[in-house]
């Protein structure tokens, strides 16, 4: 059995401390937004979770390209791990956004371009996990996964730019604000610091989880190979 690397233990500790600080900053350092009240504090983890989602989908696409070039199954494991983690974080982001929208937009959900494209991304990658399970041959499964993550990644930048190109009520906090947006706000210095610190913390969480999920994937591959060997 492969022992846990010491660097992973260190990373877990650093990530844990960073996370506690991020939570403290959200609740005790960042000021309450005057128009929306405390629900605005959801924004820090909402954006950070979406960031991890997009980061992971991009990592999966890059791993997909690496697999197609090198035919090394470790890239398939990386791709699968990144998609799974990103799906969880993207789901969190969508739910937090919906909770924020209720007091800000007076509705839990609306088929706005950003919300629609985000839902499409979530469904595209949920389908990836389901479709993978239907393929028994490891080689075919990995090739399918690689192509799927590369093509599926098209939906990610579309989601990112949707609020910048299309008419939408979703606010743009970084960059030029949309005149049709509702619920936007100008960040004060403590808000900006909390926001960027949350982004960095969530990036650390992503790397830590990815490492763990890759270890699980490697173990699963070992079990699958042994099972195939014994069944012959």
């Amino acid at each position: 059995m492969e022992a846990k690397p010491r660097l992973l233990t260190v990373l877990e500790a650093v990530t844990g401390v960073m996370f506690v600080i991020a939570v403290a900053m959200v609740f005790f350092y960042a000021p309450t937004e005057a128009v929306m009240g405390n629900v605005q504090k959801v924004f820090y983890f909402h954006v950070a979770a979406a960031w991890v989602g997009m980061l992971g989908f991009m990592a999966a696409g890059v791993a997909g390209v690496a697999f197609l070039r090198k035919k090394d199954f470790k890239w398939d494991i990386v791709s699968m791990a990144a998609v799974e983690i990103s799906l969880v974080f993207f789901f969190i982001s969508i739910v937090l956004g919906s909770i924020w929208a209720r007091p800000a937009w007076n509705t839990w959900w609306t088929w706005d371009p950003r919300l629609t494209t985000a839902t499409v991304v979530e469904l595209v990658y949920a389908a990836y996990l389901l479709l993978r399970q239907g393929i028994d041959d490891p080689d075919r499964r990995a090739r399918f996964g690689a192509v799927y993550t590369i093509v599926g990644f098209i939906s990610v930048p579309l989601t990112f730019i949707s609020i910048r190109l299309l008419r939408t009520i979703h606010p743009v906090v970084i960059g030029d604000s949309n005149p049709d947006a509702t619920g936007g706000f100008s960040m004060t210095a403590p808000m900006r610091l909390t926001f960027f610190y949350s982004l960095i913390t969530f990036s650390f969480i992503f790397v830590t989880l990815l490492w763990h999920r890759i270890r699980l994937g490697k173990l699963a591959e070992k079990v699958e190979q042994l099972r195939l060997k014994l069944s012959v």
């Binding site: 005057a34 128009v35 405390n38 979770a49 969880v88 969190i92 909770i99 763990h212 042994l226």
Partner: protein, 54 residues
């Protein structure tokens, strides 16, 4: 001015608590699933290795 802010800022604490509760619940469930799957996989591997030896 401060009093005016206090009067006009809505109380949206429940939404904030709900949002962070969702975050922590989903994260705990996911972490638990990772640990559980890792343990199960280790058990499967041990069983298969025993079978291979036989």
């Amino acid at each position: 001015m401060f009093e005016l802010l206090l009067r006009t800022t809505p109380n949206t604490n429940n939404y904030m608590i709900g949002g962070y509760a969702v975050f922590f619940i989903v994260m705990i469930v996911y972490l638990f699933s990772l640990v559980l799957r890792y343990r199960n996989m280790q058990r499967d591997l041990a069983t298969l290795e025993d079978l291979e030896k036989e």
